[in-house]
């Protein structure tokens, strides 16, 4: 099978969906500019679809979010490229509210808001306290939004196509350190349903639930731990809303030990929620307290040494795994 970069999978999904459905349009800052951004837009997208469906903008986050939500309520299917996930903050009300319109209207006439908000996770970028924030739990916290965190080129393409076709607002967060990951992606069309976790590595001693780029770090950690005869299972939920808790529960039932790894602030975070759901169902199967690896509520510094002190590393993941075995 051919291999392509993750960002190519993203743009193949966008282009294919735009060809399939003329209601789909793409908007965002510098979306046709080659060479400026870490991900390159598909060649000829403007020539193929025109300005009506490729709406390149300047810096207008609220307009990108609510303008797209408004167009979605009025029957279109916008894809918004925020470039970076922290750029969603200026549009936070608009994004969160897009997940509330349907319920707020009581589902009147089956109103839906089919919009996809894409934002690259910029952790480990040297972006510091602003750009290197990873607001995963913020999105996941309230009702109405779906949340997708793809980690391979194959998943990125299949999940993004599903996101475009979903009738709900979907926040889609690829990780910049994975944009240039290469992987097998078939030429023929496929979709990946939301709510199906992927077991990236099988193991029997400890379960690691890893979010986004943390899947890569956890897999490398698991390899190293194998040398020490610790067998680790790594689960990639792929979507948090909906969450495939069953796959996680089945794994923890087997291992009795759980570590959750993500790049967001730990407090009220992804690890807290998953740990709670696991203990609620599997309290008696747990052989050790659940461990969390994440950012300990600290603004992300720029200097490499400081940033590594704050953010998850392979060493911290390994230490957390061993703590469940102590």
């Amino acid at each position: 099978m051919r291999e392509i970069y993750l960002y190519e999978g993203m743009y193949e999904a966008i282009t294919e969906e735009m060809r399939r459905d003329e209601k789909v349009f793409l908007t965002g800052e510098s979306i046709t500019a080659e060479g400026i951004l870490p991900i390159r837009p598909p060649k000829g997208i403007m020539e193929e679809f025109g300005e009506n469906r490729v709406r390149e903008t300047g810096i207008i986050e609220q307009m990108l979010a609510a303008g797209s939500a408004g167009a979605a309520m009025a029957g279109m299917r916008p894809i918004v490229d925020f470039m970076q996930v922290d750029f969603m903050f200026p549009a936070w009300n608009e994004i969160v509210q897009s997940g509330l319109w349907r319920s707020g209207h009581g589902g009147a006439e089956n109103l839906s808001v089919p919009v996809v908000y894409i934002g690259g996770i910029m952790a480990y970028s040297g972006g510091g306290f602003s750009h290197a924030r990873v607001p995963i739990a913020n999105v996941w916290h309230g009702p109405g939004l779906k949340l997708v965190l793809p980690t391979t080129p194959y998943d990125t393409k299949g999940l993004l196509k599903t996101a475009v076709r979903d009738d709900n607002p979907v926040v889609f967060l690829p990780h910049r350190l994975q944009y240039r990951t290469k992987g097998p992606v078939p030429e023929e069309e496929y979709l990946i349903p939301f709510g199906e976790a992927k077991i990236r590595r099988e193991g029997k001693d400890v379960t690691i639930v890893a979010i986004s780029y943390m899947v890569d770090l956890s897999l490398e950690t698991a390899e190293a731990l194998e040398q020490e005869h610790i067998s680790t299972e790594v689960i990639d939920p792929r979507t948090l809303e909906p969450l495939d808790i069953d796959t996680i529960l089945a794994s923890v039932e087997k291992t009795g030990r759980l570590v959750v790894v993500d790049e967001d602030y730990i407090r009220c975070g992804v690890g807290a929620e998953i740990a709670f759901q696991v203990q609620e169902k599997l309290f008696k199967s747990l052989k050790a307290p659940v461990q969390r690896v994440g950012n300990p509520n600290t603004p992300v510094p720029v200097a490499r040494k400081l940033m590594e002190a704050v953010m998850p590393t392979k060493e911290k993941i390994a230490a957390a795994v061993k703590k469940t075995l102590a």
Partner: protein, 322 residues
């Protein structure tokens, strides 16, 4: 410009209906039975006219005082009052309250964040433009929310993309309690239109119903022709407080009384009478019909069931996809 008799009489009728509903909701506000608060639009009924210019497929966004939009765009009083009472028969099954929506009439509710509708309206304009069937967006806003940032992003891009939108400012001179000279450095909000390279017009006498309709017609025609958005500002006044219960300590009785003399409905009634379009008998009949309609809607509401607790968990996520 010749406005059709039908349009004028429909506008008149909907102004009477809106006002009658408004008085009922003011009374309801004191009943303790409402699930959510009422923001009266008494005195600002001249904005019914522009809504009468819209077709079913056109989009509209409204302010706090949205009754004129709901009524003139074709919603029933039953589903409106019932929604304010939080009844299962309300337009949003009791979940939305004053943020009334009717997607099939191009009404998608209202952002609770004031000014949040500017980009939403622009988005509806994008949909209209992509569809290319001559739909337009009529986006009402007050002078209060116009100080917020989303206005800039939306108006700028609506103009760059030549979206078919009429930005319609109901300038009632008060941002809750704060007077216009404390919220804006300019006197006429239409002045901002120049910054976005679109036409901007202020109607000083915003309670002149015919002038308001004629100006709106011109802007909407222009938008439908693909020539881009425009900004129409009318100066008007709300007779009541920001919401029912507002003691209105920020303004004088004399100021309110001055404006009440400029009642848009009474003046429009006189114009129609002088043109021979309306008789005293018509006036009475229109009022009686509105009274009956409101009374029936009120009765319907009070007899309607409450939603079931489990309904709170319905309709959060759509289960459908394209």
């Amino acid at each position: 410009m010749g406005l059709s008799k039908d349009l004028l009489l429909r506008t008149y009728r909907d102004m009477v209906r809106t006002r009658t509903l408004d008085y009922q909701m003011i009374r309801n506000s004191r009943s303790g039975k409402m699930a959510t608060g009422w923001h009266s639009g008494l005195g600002e009924e001249s904005i019914v006219g522009p809504v009468a210019l819209l077709g079913k497929d056109d989009y509209v966004t409204y302010t706090h005082r949205g009754a004129y939009v709901w009524i003139a765009k074709g919603m029933s009083m039953k589903e409106i009052i019932a929604e304010f009472y939080g009844k299962a028969t309300g337009s949003a099954c009791g979940k939305g309250g004053s943020h009334i929506a009717k997607p099939s009439l191009g009404i998608f509710g209202r952002s609770g964040m004031q000014g949040g509708h500017f980009p939403l309206a622009a988005g509806m304009g994008i949909a209209a433009q992509m569809r290319g069937q001559g739909q337009a967006v009529l986006s009402f806003f007050g002078d209060g929310c116009a100080t917020r940032a989303p206005l800039h992003e939306a108006m700028n891009y609506a103009s760059i993309w030549k979206l078919p939108i009429l930005w319609f400012c109901e300038n009632n001179g008060q941002s809750m309690s704060v007077k216009l000279n404390k919220t804006w450095a300019i006197e006429d909000i239409s002045q901002i239109a120049k910054s976005y390279a679109m036409p901007g017009v202020t109607i000083e006498d915003g309670n002149d119903v015919i002038a308001v309709i004629e100006a709106a017609q011109e802007f909407l025609d222009r938008a439908r022709r693909g020539e881009g958005p425009g900004l129409l500002e009318i100066k008007t006044y709300r007779w009541r407080g920001h919401h029912e219960g507002d003691p209105m300590l920020y303004r004088t009785k004399e100021e309110t009384e001055e404006w009440m003399k400029k009642d848009p409905l009474k003046r429009f009634e006189q114009v129609l009478q002088s043109q021979g379009l309306l008789t005293q008998e018509d006036i009475q009949r229109t009022q009686t019909e509105a009274d009956t309609e409101v009374a029936e809607a009120q009765k319907f509401t009070e007899e309607s069931p409450d939603p079931l607790p489990e309904d709170a968990f319905n309709a959060i996520y759509a289960t459908s996809h394209s």
